[in-house]
């Protein structure tokens, strides 16, 4: 029921840190947007500006077309789930969830009904009389979610809400958050530095680097069509293979090997060849040769790691190949590889721009 528009948003902290640099973004109704990026890139800062917990240095922010730069956090009608949950330790689960409602002057009977309904939805109905200290980490997480949901806000904001949970619970809660968000249809922003979480949750994903949105789009778009070297290297697990290259005499020179099939690239500029592990396959006449270091058997497929021949052995370049069948390879064995030229990417190393 709500859209969020950011235009030219900048944040400079008092200490001079320029944490967010010119972010433009349009988030439509009911979308789940994930901000993803390395630590310190400004994701939390941007989210907290949306919440109203940080001032906006420059730019304009609108909810449903109405400017909210000067609106207080409470009046923005947004709800936030914090990384450490920030539950009120001295209040029961019920009071924790009811507090925001009673502060808004809702009638006690209505509060009671809303809290019970939300608690049932999150399966915390049995714990309403407990204090947060008497709950497990996962239950506390649900209470924190409940506190946000019960208010039926215009926007949900999540700042790394799952990072205090163990791996199994994290996957469960991730699915649950996605399900709840679908059901409730509330426009949401979710901050994480975990790219798996980002890929699985997002309708659209904003990759943030040094305060700027590098690229925004659906997870598959970003995966298959990254616009910059940073996005390519950030999205995907295992990581994309990146090999330093240069364009000489109409051929892409990677180490000592010349690879055909590339055209019109600038010469005398350091380049980076990017190939996803699943786009490489063993081939008797392949142009790239590796000597196998390690094979990881994942069951359905296996990952082969090896050093690319033709590079200085002092600075070896590792390559990862995703092979469908379980290959029996001994360490040190040399294999030849071929890759799909039309799915390979070439970037400029200096500014990260994608050329092919």
């Amino acid at each position: 029921m709500s859209t969020l528009t950011l235009s030219g948003i900048n944040k400079r902290y008092d200490n001079g840190a320029h944490a967010v640099r010119g972010v433009d973004m349009e988030i439509s109704d009911g979308e789940l947007i994930v901000f993803v990026g390395p630590s310190g890139c400004g994701k939390s800062t941007l989210l907290r500006m949306v919440a109203g917990l940080e001032n906006i240095t420059e730019g304009e922010m609108k909810i449903d077309g109405v400017r909210i730069n000067e609106t207080s956090p409470a009046d923005r009608d947004v709800a936030m789930v914090f990384q450490n949950y920030a539950l009120y330790p001295h209040m029961t689960v019920f009071r924790n969830m009811a507090y925001g409602l009673s502060n808004r002057g809702m009638a006690a009977s209505e509060i009671e009904a809303k809290v019970r309904e939300t608690a049932a939805m999150l399966r915390i109905g049995d714990y309403l009389e407990r204090k947060p200290a008497q709950l497990s980490g996962g239950q506390r997480q649900r209470v924190a979610m409940g506190r946000a949901i019960v208010r039926s806000p215009k926007l949900f904001l999540f700042d790394e809400p799952l990072s205090n949970l163990d791996a199994k619970l994290r996957v469960q809660m991730r699915i649950e958050i996605k399900r709840l968000q679908r059901e409730l249809g509330v426009t949401s922003i979710y901050v994480t530095h975990d790219q798996t979480e980002a890929m699985t949750l997002a309708d659209r994903l904003a990759v943030i680097n040094e305060g700027k949105v590098e690229q925004m789009g659906s997870p598959m778009d970003l995966y298959s069509d990254p616009k910059t070297l940073f996005v390519a290297s950030f999205i995907g697990s295992p990581h994309i293979n990146l090999l330093p290259a240069s364009f000489e005499a109409g051929q892409l020179q990677v180490g000592a090997t010349a690879l055909p099939g590339f055209e019109g690239l600038p010469e005398a500029v350091p380049l980076m060849l990017g190939i996803r592990p699943e786009h490489i396959a063993q081939h008797p006449e392949g142009g790239i040769e590796i000597s196998v270091d390690l094979v990881e058997q994942l069951g359905a497929d296996s990952l082969i790691y090896g050093a690319v021949s033709g590079f200085d052995s002092a600075e070896p370049e590792e390559l990862c190949v995703r092979a469908g069948e379980a290959l029996q390879l001994a360490p040190g064995e040399r294999i030849k590889l071929n890759f799909e030229v039309d799915r390979a990417m070439v970037f400029r190393t200096d500014n990260g721009e994608r050329l092919v």
């Binding site: 917990l53 409470a74 936030m80 920030a86 330790p89 507090y99 502060n103």
Partner: protein
């Protein structure tokens, strides 16, 4: 085994000796207070119960002229209670509000102001007693409870403790409260006060005892018997004792001493568990 037995014996021995050393004077005072004036005059201090407990304490507590000329010990206890409670509550309220302002309101002078408050530790009442007296006298507050309490009420120590505690409260709690539409007063009352209740209790207990035992300020401030606190009463009774040709009423002085110790001891005993909890742990 043998070794540990002797170790146990010696440590317990030392502890018992220490306890006796500390409590013996109280015991002697209590015992002496249950004897008649002439026994004390003839035989000196007493180490066991005498037969005049009810008589002495009744006279001291309830009979006008029994101990002072006009005021009974009960009234003096009342004054002390008002001083102790006013002192404790006032200090907690003032230092908590000061710490709240310093920690949660980002005004430019917050840190310098905190250090100024902290520096007042170097200026205890004893140092500024003359100007304080001038002010209180000028306001016509001599011999009043207000005059007794207000000049003592600001507390650098309390402010310091609350500040440290508030700083340890996670900032997200404040942010969550802001999103929950809780203004500054709401946040203080609904979140900070309940969170710091053990801390409040501990500071109140300490301050009550300190307030109860105030000596110099009430001594200077109070010139009428009706406003004497019990501690001042103990001091004054010796003047009364030696007046006139009667036997000095030492048993009454001792009774007054015992009465003066009793309330702080009770407070500490009753609230002991809270007290320790407040100083040792924090519910977060």
């Amino acid at each position: 085994m043998n070794n540990s037995f002797w170790r146990k014996l010696s440590t317990h021995g030392i502890l018992i000796l220490g306890t006796i050393f500390m409590s013996a004077p109280v015991w002697v005072a209590f015992m002496s207070s249950t004897h008649a004036a002439d026994t004390l005059f003839r035989e000196g201090l007493q180490y066991w119960f005498g037969g005049h407990f009810f008589e002495t304490y009744n006279e001291v507590l309830f009979v006008e002229g029994g101990v002072m000329k006009k005021v009974t010990a009960l009234e003096m206890l009342g004054n002390s209670m008002i001083l102790g409670l006013g002192f404790a509550i006032g200090k907690v309220v003032i230092s908590m509000s000061a710490a709240y302002a310093i920690v949660y309101f980002r005004f430019r002078l917050a840190t310098p102001l905190f250090w100024v408050i902290f520096l007042t530790l170097l200026l205890p009442l004893e140092v500024r007693i003359v100007p304080s007296y001038e002010v209180v006298a000028g306001l016509g507050l001599l011999n009043t409870h207000t005059g007794l309490i207000v000049p003592l009420i600001a507390s650098a120590t309390g402010t310091f403790f609350f500040r440290q505690y508030f700083k340890s409260v996670p900032e997200e709690l404040l942010e969550a409260a802001r999103l929950d539409n809780a203004g500054p007063m709401r946040f203080l009352i609904d979140v900070l006060v309940p969170l710091s209740k053990t801390m409040i209790a501990a500071i109140m207990i300490i301050m009550f005892v300190v307030g109860w035992n105030q000596y110099l300020w009430p001594l200077i401030m109070t010139t009428e018997e009706n406003s004497y606190t019990i501690v001042i009463g103990i001091k004054q009774i010796y003047q009364v004792l030696s007046e006139g040709g009667e036997l000095p009423q030492f048993q009454k002085a001792f009774a007054l001493t015992i009465l003066a110790v009793l309330p702080p001891v009770l407070v500490v005993l009753v609230f002991q568990s809270w007290f320790v909890k407040g100083l040792v742990e924090s519910e977060k």
